[in-house]
């Protein structure tokens, strides 16, 4: 046997080696970090050094962690589409047509089709032709699918498994019900040399100190002190700074531009009476936008109070016969009850008309940059809640040309130089315009709708001068500027996404 030489180690190395010696089995690096109170990054660099000196071995192992996605969590509660389809067919008496399913199952059409596909594959349901219709029939009894069992397990928390290819796990990931993360574990054990050295007491603790303290400095001890060198090339522990939300950065930029253009900010009410959201804007009471499919109605309380009865009468007359505006009006019986209905506002134009009601003297430049609501199922291109940027200008002698000028100036300041105008229609403006802006990647985007408020809007509010107005769906603009393809990312629930969002991307020179 070759005689071994003494080896000098520092305090951290010493404590690691002694911890390893007291265990019969390899120790996990994470565990070691917690037990010894050494940050993982420091530990890993120390372990590398010990390995190079032949004292320990590091065994690297990969593991898969499966975690339910938002969709997966939803299905763990409500059942997978195939289960929902199956249950729906059973509740419809064991057989159903496609049309019936579309009306019964609370899922979008593509998911219903997907669910039918899976249910058929599982043999839960069959497709039969009856006379001229296709009918889906369900087995009276079925067993839980492997996928369902797995999702139930995952609903209690993420699963860590060895990296084997399993068909159910594959389906889970393919259907985006769960995300798979690969993690590495490090199992540490002593080499034979390391063990012998420890047994023979040949591991000596160095007299080097690893930290310089205030006492060392004040007492003068630092002059004789031997300080351990760091591996300065090693990467530090990861910390995360506090940061502004990227979408807030964008909204602040837009707000700044409007302030510079001399616009003052206003805000109205998220819960609004239809009167201010529609009637004052001369949108007829049977206009499709006012139907239950296009605005969220408040359940309780359902009706607000109309305060200014004089204004109410003017609006009523304008709708019914045009009042003194020179218009024919919509020619129907206007109902105050409908006008009092409470909704979640669908457009920030409700802020503009409330503002005009209070401020009648020119000049006025007002903007609102806030949230509106429309019944929609959240998906990559739709949201039930989004931002609008609303602006109005009121002054003597304003013209349609000026409106185009404002739209052009605003987009120029956002860094958009290519813009074109096309005729358009909005119930409350005439003439109306749609401004298209050119985006390098997306081409021409419909982004700047505007117009001049109709006489039927202005007269009841007692406004004597022209009003230019626009209402921009700012979310689409934000997506283009921030390089986002999925509207849900503006309200992301992914902390790592926010922590790692490239700063310059949310502060580009618009």
């Amino acid at each position: 046997m070759i005689p071994l030489n003494k080896i000098t180690v520092n305090d951290i190395e010493y404590s690691i080696l002694y911890e390893l010696r007291s265990s019969y089995e390899p120790i996990d690096a994470q565990f070691l970090s917690k037990k010894l109170g050494i940050p993982i990054s420091t530990l890993m660099s120390t372990l590398e050094a010990l390995k190079e000196r032949g004292l320990i071995t590091i065994n690297v192992q990969e593991l898969y962690i499966y975690k339910l996605t938002q969709e997966g969590i939803l299905y763990s509660e409500k059942g997978l589409p195939e289960r929902q389809i199956y249950n729906a067919i059973i509740s419809l008496g064991g057989s159903a047509t496609m049309e019936q399913l579309l009306n019964t199952v609370a899922l979008p059409k593509n998911l219903i089709e997907l669910g039918i596909g899976h249910a058929r594959k599982l043999g839960w349901i069959t497709l039969k032709q009856e006379s001229d219709k296709f009918v889906l029939k369900a087995l009276p009894q079925i067993v839980e699918s492997n996928l369902e069992q797995l999702i139930q397990k995952l609903s209690r928390g993420p699963l860590t498994v060895r990296p084997v290819e399993d068909i159910t796990f594959q389906e889970l990931v393919r259907r985006k019900l769960a995300e798979r993360k690969v993690i590495k574990t490090y199992k540490i054990s002593l080499t034979d040399t390391g063990k012998q050295l420890l047994d023979q007491g040949l591991i000596i603790l160095s007299t080097e100190k690893s930290t310089l303290t205030s006492d060392d400095i004040l007492s003068g001890r630092w002059t004789t002190l031997s300080l351990k060198s760091y591996n300065v090339k090693a990467l530090p522990p990861i910390i995360y700074p506090g940061r502004k939300h990227p979408y807030i950065s964008f909204l602040e930029e837009v707000r700044k531009i409007l302030l510079e253009m001399g616009f003052s900010e206003a805000e109205g009410f998220f819960v609004e009476q239809e009167f201010w959201n529609f009637d004052v804007l001369f949108q007829a009471q049977d206009h499709p936008a006012r139907e239950i499919h296009d605005s969220y109605r408040v359940k309780q309380p359902s009706l607000g109070t109309l305060e200014d009865s004089e204004l109410v009468e003017k609006v009523r007359n304008t709708h019914e016969s045009g009042w003194i505006t020179g218009s024919r009006g919509w020619r129907y019986k206007w109902s105050a009850e409908i006008a009092r209905r409470l909704i979640l506002r669908t457009q920030t134009t409700s802020v503009s008309v409330r503002y005009l009601y209070k401020h009648k003297n020119p000049p006025i430049k007002m903007f609102a940059l806030s949230r509106v609501f429309r019944p929609d199922v959240l998906d990559p291109t739709h949201s039930m809640e989004f931002h609008q940027c609303e602006g109005i200008v009121m002054d003597k002698n304003l013209t349609f040309r000026d409106l185009l000028g404002f739209l052009k100036e605003f987009s120029n300041r956002l860094g958009i130089t290519k813009i074109k105008f096309k005729p358009s229609y909005f119930p409350f403006t005439e003439p109306s315009v749609e401004g298209y802006i050119y985006h390098e990647k997306l081409g021409w985007i419909e982004a700047l709708p505007g117009g001049m408020f109709r006489p039927e809007v202005l007269a009841p509010l007692d406004i004597k001068y022209p009003v230019l107005a626009w209402g921009i769906g700012i979310d689409r603009l934000a997506m283009a500027v921030l390089g986002i393809n999925d509207i849900r990312e503006l309200f992301t629930r992914d902390l790592s996404y926010l922590r790692n969002f490239p700063w310059l991307r949310s502060h580009a020179n618009y």
Binding site: R331, T399, F400, P455, L495
Partner: protein
């Protein structure tokens, strides 16, 4: 926006010329339509809801002709000897009717399918799914000159419905045909019926026409009826259909007498007359157009123009232009004909100083401090659910009386507005249990709750909430943050012990300053954490920014 399909060859035939795709795209801009897709010779167009007269190829051809230097023929009108007698029985069911006759068209397959599509598009949009108006078209050679419009019990109605082989009873039609199932809810036990002197049924509006009087290839003269509730409205819809169908080479459009129990009248085919001044146009558009060029531009939009003097002209607006309510609508027609891209934008100098909402200064200050304290800003939707807001937070169900819920949610996740922010923060954390710790987040945003005192019965306030979660976290840690934050605004917070179901007893407090309760703070109850699938202890606070603004005398008026 509605979409329609047209056959491009059909359009070119109607225009008597062909166009390149580029030309067509440009011309359609004058009509507010847009080509979505072209497959073979079929083009799918997105059309604008305000111009129902452009929902068919005939209307588009009529709009395009003057733009390419072609003239539209004026279709002569006259009065026919046809009449519809409205019986009192129908007044309670579907009281209004209008009818017109289009003579001398030769119906072929293309016309049939285009007319059918047009009818359906008008039903879906302008007629609000047949509720407001329902259109029927018939081969007039199969009908006598006097037609009765009456209501009968469903069980007493018998005829052969469109596309059916057999004669059916009214109630059978409702139960056993597609159209019956779809529109049956629009009528009760009694259905309106159009029936001629020979007892031939024309239709059972708004459900279905009869097979016996249907349009076929070769039909020359067409009767059009529209039923509904408003006499003027049904007349408008009838005119749109009549004028568009007449574009297929009709010799005449004829009016039909309607004999109501109270009055006899003839729905008019006349043009609407509107006086228009040069001043209104130039002042609105910012242009300097002469009266002659205005006349020329309006003619391009198919209006008939008489120049009265140097400042005024008389515009005769075609009856199918139901969107023209006010002279201002003609101003837009002038702008469209002139060309939006030819109008040079001007940027008027209006000296105003822009102000943010006063509360924004507070919002920005709070954001700056929270970021400095190492917190990541997050954003949640204001829409959420009572499950997140109350149930997960262990709050009693009775709190629902504070919450604004919507009547028509589209998913279980978003059914109401938030009354506080902390549940949204915890929900956010629940999606990040595997992200590196510590996790420190905050959100600034509005909450909405019920308030009987305001006209909209709601109170909306701006708030800030922050949460800190890691292996071990304490009340003191989050309290230090809240304290530092409030101190920045020269506030002197006191922390009064609070019993609150969402927080651990003895580790929660109410934040009070200037004798006002401005927030709450504490360590979240483990049951709450588990409800959100969280694994680490979490401490949080929520402070009312609107209330701080009041204390600091920052105006909170927003309009």
């Amino acid at each position: 926006m509605p979409t329609i399909n047209i056959d491009i060859i059909d359009l070119f035939n109607l225009l008597e010329t062909s166009l390149s795709e580029e030309q067509l795209r440009e011309l359609l801009e004058y009509t507010k339509c847009e080509i979505k897709e072209i497959k073979g010779t079929t083009a799918t167009l997105e059309v604008n809801a305000d111009r129902p007269d452009l929902f068919s190829v005939e209307g588009l051809a009529r709009a395009i002709r003057p733009l390419i230097g072609k003239k539209n023929k004026l279709i002569p009108t006259k009065h026919s000897n046809y009449k519809i007698i409205v019986e009192p029985s129908v007044l309670e069911v579907r009281p209004a009717i209008a009818a017109f006759i289009v003579k001398g068209v030769k119906i072929n397959d293309t016309i049939l399918s285009q007319t059918f599509q047009f009818q359906e598009k008008l039903h879906e949009t302008l007629c609000r799914n047949r509720k407001k108006g329902s259109i029927g078209l018939y081969d007039i050679s199969k009908i006598t000159t006097t037609i009765k419009y009456k209501a009968l019990p469903l069980t007493e109605i018998k005829f052969r419905p469109l596309d059916q082989q057999i004669i059916m009873r009214g109630d059978e039609i409702i139960k056993n045909t597609d159209k019956g199932l779809k529109y049956g809810s629009l009528i009760g036990n009694k259905a309106p019926l159009l029936i001629d002197e020979n007892g031939t049924v024309l239709s059972m509006p708004p459900i279905i026409n009869s097979e016996d009087t249907r349009l076929t290839v070769g039909t020359k003269d067409v009767l059009i009826d529209v039923t509904g509730f408003d006499r003027e409205f049904v007349t408008n819809v009838g005119r749109i259909i009549a004028y568009n169908l007449a574009e297929r080479g009709a010799t005449h459009i004829e009016s039909v007498t309607i004999e109501y129990p109270d009055i006899t009248y003839i729905p008019s085919l006349e043009y609407q007359q509107i006086k228009l001044s040069k001043e209104l146009i130039n002042n609105t558009l910012g242009l300097h157009l002469s009266i002659r060029s205005i006349a020329k531009l309006l003619k391009k939009m198919n209006h008939i123009i008489t120049i009265k003097n140097n400042n005024e002209l008389l515009v005769e607006v075609p009856p199918y232009r139901v969107d023209v309510l006010h002279p201002i609508d003609l101003v837009e027609d002038v702008a469209i004909a002139y060309g939006y891209m030819k109008i040079n934008p001007t940027y008027p100098l209006i000296n105003t100083k822009g102000h943010e909402l006063p509360i924004r200064s507070l919002e920005k200050g709070i954001r700056e401090i929270m970021i400095g304290l190492g917190f990541q800003e997050i954003l949640n939707y204001m829409m959420t659910s009572p499950k997140i807001q109350l149930e997960n937070m262990l709050l009693p169900e009775s709190e629902i009386t504070n919450i604004i819920e919507v009547e028509n949610p589209m998913s279980d996740e978003y059914t109401s507005l938030r009354i506080w922010l902390i549940p949204g923060l915890l929900n956010f954390l629940s999606f990040n249990v595997d992200a590196p710790y510590p996790q420190k987040i905050f959100e600034i945003g509005y909450t909405v709750q019920r308030n009987p005192q305001s006209p909209n019965l709601t109170l909306q306030e701006m708030k800030i909430a922050a949460a800190h979660t890691e292996y071990a976290v304490s009340y003191e840690q989050i309290q230090a943050v809240a304290y530092a934050l409030l101190k920045t605004f020269e506030l002197d917070p006191q922390f009064e012990p609070l019993e609150h179901p969402s927080f651990l007893n003895g580790r929660a407090a109410e934040i009070i300053t200037n004798n006002k309760k401005i927030g709450i703070i504490g360590e979240l109850h483990p049951k709450v954490l588990l409800n959100f699938r969280l694994r680490m202890p979490t401490a949080a606070f929520e402070i009312n920014i609107t209330k701080i603004a009041e204390i600091l005398k920052i105006p909170t008026e927003t309009i």
